[in-house]
Structures are given as structure tokens and as C-alpha cells.
């Protein structure tokens, strides 16, 4: 705790906090979720189309929160947070995509009664 040590409050990850970003992030994600709810409630779209639309809206909400709440960007302090996040996306795709493909193939080949 010598005199030349900066205060932890001057750390860039503390100083990047921004109420206006958080408010915009809140309003946009709340509006997107309300929109998804409305789409499902109205039943104006065929079920399959509605499924795709709400999935796209959810992804948009995740990206907006990543940017506005998690401050994922290419700045010096956040660059590696962003890189780790982006490099996790192929892992998600492999995990979810390959597992679902495997189980669908399994169900299709075994034709267990009552599975469909």
C-alpha cells in the first residue's frame, strides 16, 4: 500500500461501468423478450416459423447483452475476454449440434415406439 500504487477504483474494468449502457441494454433486451412473448401468444405464425423467429430474437438479445453489459469489445482490457467468448461459440455448436444430430439419427434408426 505504498503511495505510488493506484487506487483499485481507477482500474479500467471499474471505470468502464456506464449506467446509460446498462439502461439501454435493459430496455432493448426487455423489449426483445416481450416481442418473443407477443409472437408466441398471438399465434400469428406457423409453429416452426415462430420457433426460428424467437431463436433469432434470443440470439440477438444474447449478443446485445454481451456488448452492452459484458463490455465485450476489442479494447486493450477486454480483448481477451472477447476472444475467449468468440472461441467458445464453436464449442457450443459442436456440443449442441453434434449431440442433437446423434440422438436424432439414433431415434430415426431404432424407431422406438412412442418416441415420435
Amino acid at each position: 500500500m505504498s503511495h505510488d500504487r493506484p487506487s483499485p477504483l481507477d482500474h479500467p474494468e471499474v471505470q468502464m461501468a456506464s449506467s446509460s449502457r446498462y439502461v439501454v441494454g435493459f430496455l432493448v433486451s426487455a423489449a426483445l423478450m416481450a416481442l418473443s412473448f407477443f409472437i408466441v401468444r398471438q399465434r400469428g405464425l406457423p409453429a416452426l416459423d415462430a420457433q426460428v423467429v424467437i431463436a433469432v430474437i434470443a440470439m440477438a438479445a444474447v449478443l446485445i447483452q454481451s456488448y452492452l453489459l459484458f463490455h465485450l469489445n476489442f479494447s486493450e482490457t477486454q480483448r481477451w475476454h472477447t476472444a475467449a467468448f468468440v472461441l467458445t461459440i464453436p464449442l457450443f455448436i459442436l456440443l449442441v449440434g453434434l449431440s442433437m444430430w446423434m440422438f436424432h439419427a439414433l431415434a430415426a434408426r431404432t424407431m422406438i415406439p412412442g418416441m415420435h
Binding site: 477504483l9 482500474h11 412473448f37 424467437i54 430474437i57 434470443a58 447483452q65 456440443l95 418416441m115
Partner: protein, 209 residues
């Protein structure tokens, strides 16, 4: 490099890598480590969502998703999570200015909203269980209980963490340790909102389609 040319290098004086002290940034190291931990936590949720996608229609003659899920309640829960996350964001803005009272008050608001979310969830699951709709009834119910309650457990741990941080901020003020813990709690709490977006969309909304 060139400054060493022509000099004989004594093995015990050889420097294999730059060992100079550059003022290690403890706060950045810890938030980055915690961020990697949260991304591996996200992989757990990815596995649970996969299990739900596979098992979600195996009702085994029991209740279906459309019969038991209440998207209206889930929308209210969504707003509770989002406002709680917003309140925690305001607490971080107060931290930026070094306002101890602001940090504590906004953490208290985030805590109350998070607790209201947990309360709604407890109510929902107590109601299901009382009607005999339990995880062992079907594949759908096992996957549904697991995924929603795993998120709920994260919320409970977040609340616990907030309570601990409130005490630590009161006792120690804004030291290096307290600040990195608050930054990590911010990552943890904001992360719950991202997971909830997926729970709300892929379970509550998709289930009622």
C-alpha cells in the same frame, strides 16, 4: 539480441525468459480467470439445453410442456432478472465514483429483485410438485426441472455472494480484493440474465407453441 553478440554467456546468468517485474495487474488476471470459469459454466448449460432438446418431447403419457408451463409468469421472472441485473449495473456505476452507500443500496435492490425471482420459482415448483408433477414422471420433466433449477441455484448463490460482498464492503471498503470480487460478481450476475434469455425462449416460449 545484438547487444549480446560476442559476449560469452555464463549458464547461471542466462535469462531464458523475461522475468522482469512489470507491475502484475491482479484485478485483470482474476476477472479474466473468472470469465473463463463462467464460459465453462456456459458449457454445462449447453449440455443441459441439449438434453432438453432431446428429451423435451418424451412425456411418457404425463403432462406436456404446453399444459404445465406458464409463459406469462416466466415473462414476469424475465423482467425481475433483467431489473436485478440493471440494479447491479448501477451499483458498478457507484463503485466507479467510489460511492460506498450507492454500491450498497443498489446491491440491496439487486438482491431484493433476485430474491423475488427465486420466490416465484420456488412457488412454481412447489405448485408442480404438489400436483404430483415431479422430475421422475417423464424425460421432459427431468430435463425441465434440471435446467430451470440449475439456473435457480445459480441465482441463489448470486444472492449469497451479494450478501457476503455487502458485509465485506462495509467492513473493508474498496480494497483491491473487494474490487475484484465485485467485478467478478458483476460477471456472474449479468451471466444469469444471458442464461435466462435462453431458458425463457427455448423452454417457456417454445413449450407453449
Amino acid at each position: 539480441m545484438s547487444s549480446n553478440t560476442g559476449e560469452s554467456i555464463a549458464p547461471d546468468a542466462t535469462v531464458l525468459w523475461d522475468t522482469g517485474h512489470h507491475g502484475h495487474d491482479m484485478i485483470s488476471t482474476r476477472t479474466f480467470g473468472f470469465w473463463l470459469y463462467m464460459l465453462s459454466d456456459a458449457m454445462i448449460f449447453a449440455a443441459l439445453f441439449t438434453a432438453y432438446a432431446v428429451l423435451g418431447h418424451n412425456y411418457a403419457g404425463g403432462p406436456t410442456a404446453a399444459q404445465i408451463l406458464r409463459p406469462g409468469d416466466a415473462l414476469a421472472e424475465t423482467m425481475l432478472v433483467f431489473t436485478s441485473v440493471l440494479a447491479f449495473g448501477f451499483s458498478m456505476s457507484a463503485l466507479k465514483r467510489g460511492h460506498r452507500a450507492g454500491v450498497l443500496n443498489w446491491i440491496a435492490v439487486a438482491f431484493v429483485l433476485g430474491a423475488a425471482f427465486v420466490g416465484m420459482e420456488v412457488h412454481e415448483f412447489a405448485n408442480l410438485a404438489s400436483r404430483g408433477i415431479v422430475p421422475e414422471r417423464s424425460g421432459f420433466l427431468s430435463a425441465y426441472y434440471t435446467i430451470v433449477l440449475t439456473h435457480g441455484l445459480h441465482m441463489v448463490f448470486g444472492l449469497l455472494w451479494m450478501a457476503v460482498m455487502a458485509v465485506q464492503v462495509l467492513r473493508e471498503g474498496f480494497t483491491d480484493d473487494i474490487v475484484y470480487r465485485l467485478l467478478n460478481l458483476r460477471i456472474f450476475w449479468h451471466f444469469q440474465a444471458i442464461i435466462w434469455v435462453c431458458v425463457f425462449t427455448f423452454i417457456y416460449l417454445q413449450g407453449s407453441l
